[in-house]
């Protein structure tokens, strides 16, 4: 049977507020356990929550970025369950009246097709603390630093049909939240976590199959792998005539498999009800418009501009708008050298290549956009050639120099464009290589095109790489063809 995969995602995004959603404690990552938990975060008797306005602003901006409706009022509710890292015995969340209503996100697939994923809603909630099961000789440690960190949970419709689509969706969400500056999007530190709902149904059937929810997947790669595993698992069950049971599963990246955590029967009854300590959140039109005025250019808008105004390919535009930092880096380089395609090639090629090799983020690049731009300026004005540029780039990377211009002179990389000098080098090479000249003359026209490369190489070598290759090529062709 042909199966159709149906995937919906719940993405939890940690909002980058300075303080927690309901208390003044810091949200900074990496502090000593329980040093960033105040009485409110500890759930001390008598303490009360006060909503962080900044968290609301961030949630609203996300809603506006995905063209969602922002309801006039939203309500915080309590989700009740017991767990040691949940200090109050309930998580303050939103249920019936979330802050962000229906919206849409466009995703770009590998082949360049663009697809729209509908967003069901996004709601605000507080994060729980962390249970630490190591190093406590049989006991569990509780770190409440994370308790009360503001989260935006973005719930998609089941609009995705492959691991690739799910992955593209997460990347799109990642791009939006980082563009908006409402989250650092750091998955390794847990700033973005996903719950993935996967089900299969016979192709053509409308009714959704029974789904499994994979909890807390925390990297792009794991999302793809967890889905791939889950699809196979469900396919096997279904093809053996079995039934998929509705359950919550955990993905184990070490074993690359999902494992059952609890079934529907074991699921908690969370007993949601409106939190009596918080008033309904009322947002008026003026507030929403003010937040709209604060929106930066969004990835989709930037992508379109890169294609239409800068003439980049959709592929290049897509890669370069992958994060706000990368896009801003590219734009700075492009403005410096005034050649968008050249800037795009260098940023995607040499720069991203090296960054990937060294495991660095664009924000950690040893070569600044100004430095790369300064280098490309010299390529554009023919001061140096491509080979020289690579050498300069390597020096910049190793922080040997501050600017491209410093090293161009020092290394004698300045390109020789003096026709007389090149001509004498060409004559010399032709004179020194009679055998190859004879072969050239006897070769067929299409072979000659290739054979000229030998002579160009020799001239470049003789010029210690400073000659301008196209110029050399043209001159050699003229001289050799004259010998035919």
């Amino acid at each position: 049977m042909q199966w159709e995969v149906v995937i919906g995602l719940e993405v939890h995004v940690q909002l980058s507020t300075c303080s927690k959603i309901f208390s003044g404690a810091s949200t900074a990552f990496g502090a000593e356990p329980n040093t960033q938990a105040c009485g409110i975060d500890l759930g001390l008797p008598g303490t009360l929550p006060v909503l962080n306005e900044n968290a609301v602003a961030m949630a609203v901006r996300f809603g506006l970025a995905i063209n969602a409706e922002i309801p006039e009022y939203s309500v915080f509710e309590r989700k009740n369950y017991f767990y040691p890292d949940l200090p109050k015995g309930y998580q303050t969340s939103q249920m019936a009246h979330p802050v962000v209503g229906r919206g849409e996100v466009d995703i770009t697939l590998g082949d360049g097709t663009v697809k729209t994923v509908r967003i069901h809603h996004a709601h605000m909630e507080e994060d729980a603390g962390k249970s630490l099961h190591e190093d406590y000789s049989g006991m569990t440690g509780i770190d409440l630093n994370r308790a009360g960190t503001p989260l935006l949970e973005i719930v998609s419709e089941p609009d995705m049909h492959s691991a690739e689509e799910a992955s593209a969706y997460i990347r799109a969400i990642h791009a939006i939240v980082t563009y908006l500056g409402i989250s650092d999007g750091n998955m390794a530190e847990g700033s973005m976590r996903c719950d993935v709902n996967v089900s299969l149904r016979p192709k053509g059937q409308e009714k959704l199959g029974t789904r499994a929810e994979i909890k807390n997947v925390n990297s792009f790669r794991f999302v793809e792998r967890a889905i791939a595993f889950e699809i196979e698992r469900q396919r096997e069950i279904l093809e053996d005539g079995g039934v998929v049971i509705q359950e919550t599963r955990l993905y184990n990246p070490d074993l690359d498999e999902t494992r059952s955590m609890r079934t529907k029967e074991e699921a908690n009854d969370y007993r949601y009800f409106p939190c009596p300590d918080l008033l309904p959140l009322m947002l008026d039109e003026a507030y929403i418009e003010h937040q709209r005025s604060l929106l930066p250019e969004l990835p989709s808008e930037k992508r379109q501009r890169f294609v239409e105004s800068l003439g980049l390919s959709t592929y290049d535009a897509d890669v370069l708008t992958g994060s706000r930092a990368l896009a801003e880096y590219f734009e700075a380089v492009q403005q410096h050298c005034s050649d968008a395609k050249l800037a795009a090639n260098w940023v995607q090629g040499d720069l991203l290549g090296r960054l990937n090799r060294d495991g660095l983020d664009i924000t950690e690049s040893p070569v600044s956009a100004e430095q790369l731009g300064g280098l490309l300026v010299r390529l554009v004005d023919d001061t140096i050639n491509g080979k020289g540029a690579k050498q300069v780039f390597a020096d910049l990377w190793e922080r040997k120099v501050e600017t491209a211009d410093e090293i161009i002179d020092a290394r004698g990389l300045k390109q020789v464009t003096d026709t007389g000098a090149i001509e004498s080098l060409c004559d010399q090479v032709i004179a020194d290589n009679p055998v190859q000249v004879t072969q050239y003359r006897e070769a067929s026209e299409d072979k000659r095109g290739k054979m000229i490369g030998f002579f160009v190489g020799q001239v470049m070598k003789a010029s210690r790489g400073t000659a301008n290759p196209p110029q050399v090529n043209a001159m050699l062709k003229e001289k050799l063809d004259a010998l035919l």
Binding site: G46, G89, F273
Partner: protein, 483 residues
């Protein structure tokens, strides 16, 4: 000194008739001598009280004393007090020393008051007789075989017994007004949102409100001046100007329109209470008030609605008592579930468990609409009843409780106990203010007259109560306590 009102004591301190240390010492001695009979305090903070008294005296010496400087009072043990055990009357919090002060505690401290300690209460404010305390029942100063009412029974008894001129209570369904009535003192439940709840251990967050309990309306007004106001730490506290409650207390009541809700004088009301309340109303008529009958048609639904909403909120509010971070923890838990089960089984008393069970049930999937949602709808109807009534009259009057104080152990059936709050509970559901003032003694048992006003009408309520107290002397009657 123990017979004086807060206002009298303030004048005495100002005149230099006695120092705060003398006053404090005298009251601490009285507590030491007589509280073993009544059990109104859970914790007496002698040392701290004397320090605060000395500080107040020093301030007065420098001419910097405020109106409340050096005046002793006590807090229901539900208000967090820094460095002092805050138990909420529960074994669960017997070892809990709050690391911070509740906002009202902070404000009253700032005003220069001297705290003598923490008063007994029904566990987590759940009860109407103060028999649900882990620290044992409180006895009524008028007769130690009677209950003082609840849940602020310790505060009411302490004031009635002359241990403190005033104390703070909290009122979720009548917990200030009913014990004030039973003990013959004056107790005000302010409008929901008028006084900060920050640092007040939550029972039912949408109903809880702190208020003063004292001998007179004037004393309550003095305390309200310090207690009321917006608190950025409590989102449900209202940002609204706080009047001077001591101004206008004497305003004559000519033309005051009093509504008597027919539903508050029906079946279940003890005849002697009705007689006393009607007599009080006649006093008002003699002072120039007009009396009309009104109806609050949804009154009968108040107790059922309350016993859905309050336990629902309580079941969630009390989830934090899990033995993980503070409070009681069972010995040698086998695993997490065992930790939760035994900690909570051991730490909570029966009434608290009962309400947690009720609340957990009514919020459960499949029951939510039938109980919680319906109760909230009823709540709106009840509120509307009051709004409609206040379109016609200035205040409503009736009994604070259906009976006078009853014998300890007399109401073993929880539902019988819940009916104690029949005249007070709707007020919390509506969020309006209410005050209970002494209005009679029947067989040496005090009767409370309840006066209700529209939202934020505290100043007027205090005026109405004060003028009555100028015309009557019920509030001046004092019980005789035998050692």
């Amino acid at each position: 000194m123990h017979d004086k009102t807060l206002a009298e004591l303030a004048r005495g301190l100002a005149a230099g008739d006695f120092s705060s240390r003398e006053l404090t010492t005298s009251l601490l001695e009285r507590i030491k001598r007589l509280d073993p009979v009544l059990n109104s305090f859970i914790t007496v903070t002698d040392e701290q009280a004397l320090k605060e008294a000395d500080a107040a005296d020093a301030l007065r010496h420098k001419g910097e004393a405020g109106i409340l400087s050096g005046l002793p009072l006590a807090y229901k043990d539900i208000f967090c007090t820094e460095g002092v055990r805050t138990s909420a009357g529960s074994k669960m919090l017997d070892n809990f020393i709050a690391p911070y002060n509740a906002t009202v505690v902070e404000k009253l401290k700032h005003a220069g008051t001297v705290s003598l300690g923490k008063t007994n209460m029904d566990e987590f404010a759940m009860g109407s007789s103060n028999e649900n305390s882990w620290y044992g029942p409180v006895k009524n100063p008028w007769n130690p075989t009677l209950v003082p009412g609840g849940s602020s029974g310790g505060s009411a008894a302490a004031v009635a017994a002359g241990f403190v001129p005033a104390a703070l209570g909290t009122d979720t369904g009548g917990s200030i007004r009913q014990p004030a009535a039973f003990c013959g003192i004056t107790g005000l439940k302010p409008t929901y949102g008028r006084v900060s709840r920050y640092g007040m251990i939550a029972y039912a967050s949408s109903l809880d409100q702190a208020g003063p309990m004292a001998r007179t309306a004037e004393d309550c007004a003095m305390l309200m001046n310090a207690m009321a106001g917006h608190d950025t730490r409590d989102s449900t506290s209202v940002s609204r100007n706080v009047p001077d409650y001591t101004q206008g207390l004497d305003k004559p009541l000519n033309g005051l329109k009093i509504g008597l809700p027919v539903e508050y004088f029906g079946e279940g009301l003890a005849p002697e209470v009705e007689t006393a309340v009607r007599e009080a109303v006649r006093v008002y008529e003699s002072l120039g008030a007009q009396v009309i009958e009104v109806s609050l048609p949804h009154t009968s639904m108040a107790i059922p609605a309350y016993y859905v909403i309050a336990p629902a909120e309580a079941s969630s509010n009390l989830s934090r008592y899990d033995g993980v971070r503070f409070g009681h923890r069972c010995d040698d838990p086998a695993d997490l579930e065992d930790l939760y089960k035994r900690t909570r089984a051991e730490g909570f008393g029966d009434e608290v468990k009962r309400r947690i069970l009720i609340g957990t049930h009514t919020l459960s999937e499949g029951f939510f609409d039938a109980y919680y949602r319906k109760a909230q709808q009823v709540r709106r109807l009840i509120r509307q009843d009051f709004l409609d009534a206040f379109a016609r009259v200035d205040v409503l009057m009736g009994p604070a409780a259906p009976t006078t104080a009853f014998e300890l152990g007399a109401k073993a059936d929880p539902v019988q106990m819940y009916l104690q709050d029949i005249y007070t509970i709707a007020i919390n559901l509506a969020g309006i203010p209410g005050i209970s003032v002494p209005a009679g003694l029947v067989d040496n048992r005090p009767v409370g007259l309840q006066i209700l006003g529209p939202h934020f009408g505290e100043a007027h309520l205090l005026n109405v109560a004060h003028v009555y107290q100028q015309a009557t002397d019920w509030h001046q009657r004092r019980p005789e306590i035998k050692e």
